[in-house]
Structure formats: C-alpha cells, structure tokens
Subunit: 233 residues, 2 copies
DNA sequence: CGGGAACAAAAAGTACGACGTTTATGTCAC
DNA sequence: GTGACATAAACGTCGTACTTTTTGTTCCCG
C-alpha cells in the first residue's frame, strides 16, 4: 500500500511522515539530514525538501546546529488530509477515528441545515440518487459500492452548504468512512436505520427543511459514534 | 507585518504564499522556478523548497515540462493556519472571515458542551479569570487587552473539550478574533451583551451544565455573525 | 575556584553547476 | 490527415563547496 514512487521526494515524504505519525520517533528526538539521506539513499537535497514539507505540517522543527527535532502531537496540523491519512494508517487509528467522528457530529448537522437552504436542484437530484444507491447496495455484501455512495452523499451535503470550510471537509469525511469500512470488522451489511436516515435527509434537503435536515444528520452522527463505541471500545 | 526573514526560505514562501492567496496569480497560471529564483534573487534550491511546501498546501502543482501551475481555490488546504493567515491578509478577507465564523458557530457550541463535562478545575478557574478579564477591559478603549482575554477564553474552551480536532482550532479562532479587532472599524468598546454571555458561559462550564454551555456559545456565535453582517455587508 | 570571553566544531542553510527525466509540441513522412 | 519521431523546455536529482548559526569547550583573568 506504499505510494508507487511518482518521484523520490514523494516516497521519502510518505515514509517519514508515516513513521512520525505512527509515533516511531518520539517528540524531541532529532533526525539528521545526511543520516536520512544515507538511509533512503537519496541526496541531501531531496531530504531537505521533505523536511521543509514536514516542517510546514508542524510535524518537525529544523534548527541549525541541532538538527530536525520531532514535535509533539499537539503541534501537528491535524487538519491536513495527508497527516490524517498517515495517522489513520498508524497505531492510534481508533482515537483518531473517534475525534474525527466527533468533529463530523459538530460540522455536518450545521452543513446539512445550510444545504437545505442553498442546495441547487442538481445537487438535490444527485443527493437523492446517491441515497437510492445506498439503498440498492445496502444488502448482500456490496460494501465497496455502498461506501462509494456514502462518501459521495456526504460530500454533496458539505458542498451544498455553500461554506468553503465545510466543503473542504469532504476529504476528511471520505477518509473516515473509508477507514471505517476497510479497517474495522465489517462483515455485516450497513445498519438499515442509517440507510433510512440518509434517504430522509435527502428528502429534507430537497424540501428545504433546514431543521429537519439538521436533526436527521445529528441522528446519523449519533449512530456513527455509537458504532465506534460498540466496535472499538 | 511581513515575517522578518529568519531565513531566505521563509521570506520567499511568505511572499509567494501571500501573492497566490491574494489571487494575484490566477488558477492555471504557470510560474517557472528559474524565473522565481531570479525575481527573489535566491538560488533555485530555495525556490524548489518553497514550491514543495506550497504544493503540500495544494496551492500549486508542479509538473515536468510545464512548470508550477497555480491551483484553484477549491483545492487549497484552507485549514492550514498559514493559508488562513495569508488569505486574511488579502482581498477576500471578508468572505474568509465569514466562512470561518460559520465554522466557529458549528464547532464551538459542541466544544463548549463537551468542555462542561470534561473541564478540569484548573481550566474552570482560568476560564472564569479570563471572563473577568474581559469584563475589566470591556470599557475604555482597552481593545488589545480585551482581545487577549477573548482569545485565551475561547482557546481554553476548545482545549477543555478534550477533542484534539477542536483544540487545534484555537489558532484559527485566534486569527479570526484578531482579524476582527484589527481590521474592522472597531472604534467602540465590545458589545456588553457578548461580555455577559462569556461570563455566563464560564459559569455554565464550571457547573457542568452542558446544555447551557452549548446554548450560550450559540448565542455568542449568532452575535458574531450578526456583527459581521452589520459591519461588512 | 568561578565566571566570562574567545574559539572550535557540528549541523543546517545556501549556492551553483551538471546531468537525468518527463512530456508537450511540432515536424516529417506516409 | 494521421501517426511516429525528434526536439526542447521545464522540473527532478545529485554532489560539492561554502556560509551561518548554535552550542560546547577551553582557557584566561579576577
């Protein structure tokens, strides 16, 4: 599952980012650039570019004479989709999944409420389509198909909210949903109640029922949180 | 207000980031590394590191044979505090301020509700202290002092929520509050109603009144949105 | 014996030049 | 007109040399 090296830089960045996100280098630990260069068998130039990117994500801090020191988790840019991906691939996936789901529970109801007011007819149509797609794939081990519709559904709601910050959370939600499907024990079909809620949410948005959309989204969020409690105590 | 160039890299990054965030380079426009190197009078090495960082923020995309192309706004990592700062310094500050305030209105009530449940005695004490500080500085043109207390107050609530994603939004909230104070016409003292709400919010958190804390925070958010509507139509 | 100033070393920061790699684009033949 | 091929433009990578900052150490003076 490693990145297919579409450039040396990408490969090293991904490897180092994963290591740090996984906690393999404790905060305060120092890495030296030429050491890394040797280790990955690349030039110091490439390493320095990687370090700069990691630094912009606040994963590390580079200081002269001392080296590249790993920063504590509290400093990280945890909203960076790249960082999220690295963390979800690591050891503290459960905690990460939980805090992201709580974030969703705060954002998505408000986004749905706004979407009910601002959604274009096209968005409403696609939303309904996706909801129906979820129904169609909700039985018979079609988890991948279901996931695709689910992601698209939530992305449409976030986009339709008309708020840029909400819209850009689509990638995060996609990561969460994908993580839930792929890495949790999910032999069974999705919860029928959740499927129904999505259908009703599509209706509420189409009818411009802001309060209803908000309430339904909250229910979906509660369900997701509950699911986490049951599967990952 | 430009960064005092604690390194060539930082200077160029800040300059270019500002330009792009301000829309001086339209999406699709290409920049060439040699050209930039000449323009800023630095080596191509430095420029490439800057480009890499900008690329990690999805502000630009670097492709062989074509150059560094500016990406559309929808692709940007709008949660990156650095990007937020650049955008707040640019032309679409009003829109940016508005979408961030809407984001706050979604996050902070939930965070306050969680804070009411999880806040430690120390956090409660400091919260009360900050609320009193806001009262003390709410009259007589002590805007800077008020701002400091306000920022600290909201930061504590976000931290006390116990959710990492919420906590990391403290920087964003700080930028919004600072932007509001510094760049809007704010001759007058803060709204007394808002001050009162903060005091009551501190009480609610201290008493573990989750519902009350959520409601009060919503009121604060509504006030902030209203203020935006009045001052920046 | 203690403290401060000069000094030395270590590591990142910067520069430069050369070469490799990809890929858009235009040309030429069919 | 279409397809293969050559070309060149831009980024990608490398190695080396030099600069700057920080830090630790040593040594001299009080």
């Amino acid at each position: 599952m490693t990145t297919p090296a579409q450039g040396l830089h990408t490969h090293v960045l991904d490897a180092l980012g994963l290591e740090i996100a996984a906690g393999e280098h404790l905060p305060g630990q120092v890495l030296r650039t030429d050491e890394l260069a040797r280790r990955f068998d690349v030039s110091r130039t490439v390493v320095r570019e990687v370090i700069r990117v990691l630094e912009s994500m606040h994963l590390v801090e580079s200081r002269r004479r001392v080296g590249v020191t790993v920063r504590p988790t509290e400093a990280w840019n945890v909203y960076d989709p790249q960082v999220i991906r690295w963390r979800l691939a690591g050891a503290d996936r459960p905690r990460q999944l939980r805090s992201l789901t709580v974030l969703r529970s705060a954002i998505e109801p408000v986004a749905a409420s706004l979407a009910a007011r601002h959604a274009t007819p096209e968005q409403c149509a696609e939303l309904t389509e996706r909801a129906l797609g979820m129904v169609a794939t909700s039985r018979g081990q079609q988890l991948e198909g279901y996931l695709e519709h689910d992601i698209a559904f939530h992305r449409i709601v976030l986009n339709a909210s008309g708020n840029e910050m909400f819209a850009r959370l689509g990638d995060v939600v996609a990561e969460v949903l994908a993580g839930r499907t792929h890495h949790q024990v999910m032999f069974e079909d999705p919860d029928p109640a959740a499927v129904t809620l999505h259908v009703r949410l599509a209706e509420a948005v189409r009818e411009g029922d802001a309060a209803g959309a908000e309430r339904l989204t909250k229910e979906i969020a509660v369900g997701a949180l509950h699911e986490l409690d049951v599967l990952a105590p």
